[in-house]
Amino acid sequence: MDRLISLLCMLVGGFWAYKGLFTYGIWVDKGPGGGFLPVTIGGLVIILCLAQLRRSFKAPYQKIHISSRLLIPIITCIASVILTEFLGLIVTMTLMTIFWLKIIEKYSLLKSTITGVLTGVFLYGVFTVWLQVIFPKGFIGI
């Protein structure tokens, strides 16, 4: 994983340096152009990542293990973005809390519902009523 992160960072550095050099320009009108920082820092990131890669190859290889539980928050977030369109943000967040507690954390339905509803009321009170943040409302209108 260490190597993968270094490689990804190197790619980011390389892309930034390339775009900085050929699109934005390092030196424009007697001064640093829009590409000055991307080229210098992008170049530096590449060098540092190469050093890190070299070091990681000297260290013993570690097998990558990614737990499937890591997918839970990602899937939940994607689902909540889609549901927000129809149910509104507050209702979606309330339902998300209830389902998460009931299905993933295996709490009782009563405890999950109470916690979910309290979370929803808190969000509504603080963000909608007090701070007057305008959230997507969905067909329920909350």
Partner: protein, 503 residues
Amino acid sequence: MENFSFLLDGLMTAMSFQNLIATVIGAILGLIIGAMPGIGPVAGVALLLPITFKMEPTTAIIMLAALYYANMYGGSFSAILLNIPGDSAAIMTGLDGHELTTQGKAGKALFTSNFSSFIGSFIGIIALTIFGPLLADVGIKFGPSEMAALILLALTAIGWLLGEDPLKGLISAGLGILLATVGVDPVSGLPRFSFGSVNLLSGIDFIPLVVGMFGFSQVFDMLLAKQDFSFMGGKRLTIRESLLTKAEYKKIIPATIRSSIIGTSVGIIPGVGGTVASFLAYVFEKRVSKNKDNFGKGALEGVAAAEAANNGSASSSFAPMLSLGIPSSATSAVMLGGLMMWGLRPGPQLFRDNPDFVWGLIGSMYIGNVICIIMSLACIPFLMNILMIPIGIMTPIVAVLCIVGAYTSANSMFGVGVMVIAGIAAYFMQENKFPLAPLLLANVLTQRFEQSLRQSFEISNGNPSIFITKPITLTLLVITILLTLTPVFKSLLKRLIKPKSVD
């Protein structure tokens, strides 16, 4: 003497029932907003600005000012208890503060934070009162080259300071700088690395980024039960248990005073703000402290340094804002907009034309600071209850707060997307010991650094000698070079000493 009489008048103005209520409300709102992960002072002040629109200007700015510095108190709560900084200035507080929480010393960390915040704010307000106009004069002498050198000093120290691995720290800082170049070129005004997205034209929003990196990444940790939030083992902490011992006071008082002075001085420099202040104070304290090896592992001095500097800077940053009309942070920029909204023109004339307003505000800061410390200390047992909540219940609540916080700042689901991606990246980076704080701090500092650097070259017509002919710039650059070379000198010294010790 004249200032003292003005201050007395100001205190009288601040003590009026209406202004006192405004201070109390501002302090309560500030503490709550500051403690909420992901909202932070900028969003808080911005959201409350319309509420104060119908108020009398002095009352309105008193309320916003109370909100602003109470936010600084509150920002440390979530950083210490949940390792989610309420704003970027609280990142340094979380380094030691959260470590102390995991060691079961959350009460002491919160008490240290409040105590240092109070001292920092107090010193900051005194500086604003006595030396305000004078110190603002010094601040105005910081042109683009001085500013670039100062930020460079902060930037170069980041990677070396944080994490066990300087190489990974530097890669992380580099990424932070690259991400900060997304948006619009600050000089030409043309889109840069926006990938054709309208949402990226204003850059990567800091709040979704910070909520993702420090909040959402914790959701993964909590799911895998690597991070147990039930550290207290069901034990309820009281204010008495949070109080510090004589030995602990002895440790933190010098650190607090030193850092308050650093923070106050940095706050007066236009455009620098609390993040740099807390960072510089932490670096300084780490270097001078007898307990330096414990920094990052739960040192009370680390919490004291970051919070004293942060609050000192927050208070003293009012000097350039009021006397010069130059904001020192994004939050004071919002407040500056508020002043203009009420028809006031911040600048040297403000002290002359609206003394009631200016000195009323300064007077209210003394009162507000006392209100803040009382309320923050009273809130410790209440906030400690957060730690009693089982990890299973905390996980979806933190996830929900992250989603809502990210949505609120960007006002679109794009912010939620940024937050999720940042959270995933941060989780894997942390797992592989790439420190996150350098990335975020570099990200915050870069835009101003680039702007100052390019302005310096514009002024000098492309001549780099501007950085060595100005004494302040040169001094800052020499310090930067010395700081950068310190690890090299250290390793050389170690090599020289080693053979002798073998002999």
